[in-house]
């Protein structure tokens, strides 16, 4: 250890203080606001919701701060359980269809030259910028009993009487798909686009047919995009209530609707909280599986 000349010890102290000022203040100014906001308005509320889900409901619909598992027990109740199952089924169906429809579409766009591709992508995003409620309303108009679709079907003679499309699960799923498709296409496109052409050429060079190349090279390498798409479609589909509200007319109930009702007319906050926690758990599970497979890169929605 070398002997330090006197005077450098207070110099080092000054240096340390100035280092702190130099580096901490800009760091605080930049990362501070976002951190505070996230903790205040995301972390704390989430924790509180978990807390409330373990409380019980008073006679008049207020929250009684007593530990109880009754909300969770209600979830196992037949009616609620059926709704949860239905929601899961619908979300799963939506996801599968979005993937199935979206993948070829993303592939098609990815084969185009970059400027064309970016314009095509923008075309997909435009519906996203419009009011979703009005779009849902359009589907309602189209599929009404006396609406254009039914008229067309009767005119071509495919059916004798109008089919009731509206307020059915089927129509709700259709609505979900049209809402969620962009969220599937974007991550799929992003991951397909990153696929290096040279890999496909190498596969062909080594003797693989196009379909073999697809299953052995393309599909596995685009798996991160597929998984992103799954997350971005499945989870919102579980929680959405506007689609089931409008296209289901109150007859089709999903988890989202029930949660909303607990905070509206029915006033059972702990139950609503418990259902929310359920959604969080499912979300968390999926994320956990995802992080095992791939790093969470920036999920470019735009």
């Amino acid at each position: 250890m070398s002997k330090q000349p006197s005077g450098t010890s207070d110099l080092q102290a000054i240096r340390r203080k100035r280092d702190m000022r130099r580096k901490t203040i800009p760091a605080l100014a930049q990362a501070g606001p976002v951190s505070i906001w996230m903790i205040l308005f995301v972390t704390l509320p989430m924790l509180f919701i978990i807390y409330i889900s373990f409380m019980s409901r008073g006679v008049f619909g207020d929250v009684v701060y007593q530990f109880s598992l009754e909300s969770y027990q209600t979830l196992l109740d037949a009616t609620y359980f059926k709704v949860i199952l239905k929601s899961l089924k619908a979300a799963l169906l939506t996801t599968v269809l979005c993937l199935g429809l979206g993948y070829p579409f993303a592939y098609y766009i990815a084969r185009k030259p970059p400027e064309v591709a970016s314009r095509l992508i923008m075309l997909i995003m435009i519906p996203f910028w419009t009011n979703s409620l009005m779009r849902l309303n359009s589907w309602l108009l189209l599929f009404q009993t006396s609406g254009p679709v039914n008229n067309f079907l009767q005119w071509t003679g495919l059916v004798d009487r109008p089919i009731t499309f509206i307020y059915t699960d089927g129509l709700v799923v259709l609505g979900l798909i049209t809402n969620m498709l962009p969220f599937a296409v974007l991550p799929l496109y992003s991951s397909i686009e990153k696929l290096q052409k040279s890999l496909l050429e190498a596969s062909a060079d080594l003797g693989a047919t196009p379909s073999q190349t697809f299953f052995k090279v393309t599909l596995p390498l685009t798996f991160p995009g597929i998984f992103s798409a799954i997350i971005l479609v499945f989870i919102p589909s579980l929680g959405i209530y506007t689609v089931s509200d409008i296209l289901g007319g109150g007859k089709v109930l999903y988890i989202g609707n029930i949660i909303k009702n607990q905070f509206g007319s029915i006033r059972n906050w702990p139950l609503g909280a418990a259902l929310s926690v359920l959604l969080l758990v499912i979300t968390g599970l999926l994320i956990f599986i995802y992080t095992r497979f791939a790093k969470i890169e920036d999920m470019e929605v735009v």
Binding site: W37, F48, Y108, G147
Partner: protein, 272 residues
């Protein structure tokens, strides 16, 4: 015409199928929009079925005070939410990219929560907190709700556009005599401006179209445009709403085209 080999014929049919498929998908996505626009010309009180063509709604909509009122309300909230989210989001994206600190991982993960978790859960969580703190619901609560999901989108968008070179540019600026604040406004901010603009656009549209958060956190008096439309669903939607939303879409699309056009023009100019 030369005879195409079997493989080439396959490729051609595949290509044609691809185009047809794409057109179908676009159709499915755009049909609702077209229908919505068409029905803005519907000559009927409520949009149940088509009853003839009229342009009256485009004039009448300005007399629908509830509609215009909620439009203003939505726009004001959207502008405020955009400003707040972009400022916090820009600073946050820069700070998170550059610095290490305790809890950074936590904040990073928290940022993805509003993006991934269903909005109803977020809304409900905020509602409970507000109610328990005795805060009255109104523009403030809706604003907070909107910012809470806009900020993460802003951060993610901007983060993706920050190049790795940023540090060297800042060093170069300070080397040439600019202090940190000057560097931020003269060098850092301009270099991420495209990302900031994207984030602003994204925040604005997310806020204007938001239903769930605005519904749960709404006060008794005013409602945003989407919430108004939602409530009209029971009684029936009047075509002036279609007219309004049609105008909104056209404005947004026009804005997009304009900004792209301006960008292309600027590029051509500076290449002199």
């Amino acid at each position: 015409m030369a005879k195409l080999s079997k493989v080439q014929r396959h490729k051609r049919t595949a290509a044609i199928l691809g185009e047809v498929y794409a057109i179908l998908i676009y159709a499915v996505l755009y049909i609702p929009i077209v229908v919505m626009m068409v029905f803005s010309f519907n000559d009927q009180r409520y949009n149940y079925y088509w009853n003839g063509f009229t342009t009256q709604w485009y004039g009448k909509l300005f007399h629908n005070s509830a509609l215009i009122g909620s439009l203003w309300y939505s726009l004001i909230i959207a502008v405020l939410a955009t400003v707040i989210s972009v400022v916090i989001g820009t600073l946050g994206a820069l700070g998170l990219k550059k610095y290490e600190f305790h809890g950074k991982k936590l904040v990073n993960n928290m940022l993805y929560v509003p993006i991934i978790v269903p909005e109803i859960v977020l809304a409900v969580a905020l509602l409970i907190i507000f109610m328990n703190l005795g805060l009255s619901l109104g523009m403030g609560s809706i604003l907070i709700g909107h910012c809470t999901f806009c900020i993460p989108y802003a951060v993610v968008t901007i983060k993706g556009r920050i190049s790795g070179d940023g540090d060297t540019l800042e060093e170069a600026s300070m080397d040439l005599g600019a202090n940190r604040i000057q560097t931020f406004f003269r060098v850092t901010l301009p270099s991420i401006m495209p990302g900031v603009m994207s984030a602003a656009f994204l925040s604005f549209t997310l806020s204007v179209d938001d239903v769930v958060m605005s519904n749960m956190l709404a006060g008794a008096k005013n409602s945003t445009l989407p919430v108004l439309i939602l409530s009209m669903n029971k009684s029936g939607i009047t075509p002036d709403v279609n007219a309004l939303t049609t105008i909104m879409i056209l404005v947004i699309v026009a804005g997009m085209l304009l900004s792209n056009g301006v960008k292309a023009l600027v590029k051509r100019r500076s290449a002199v």
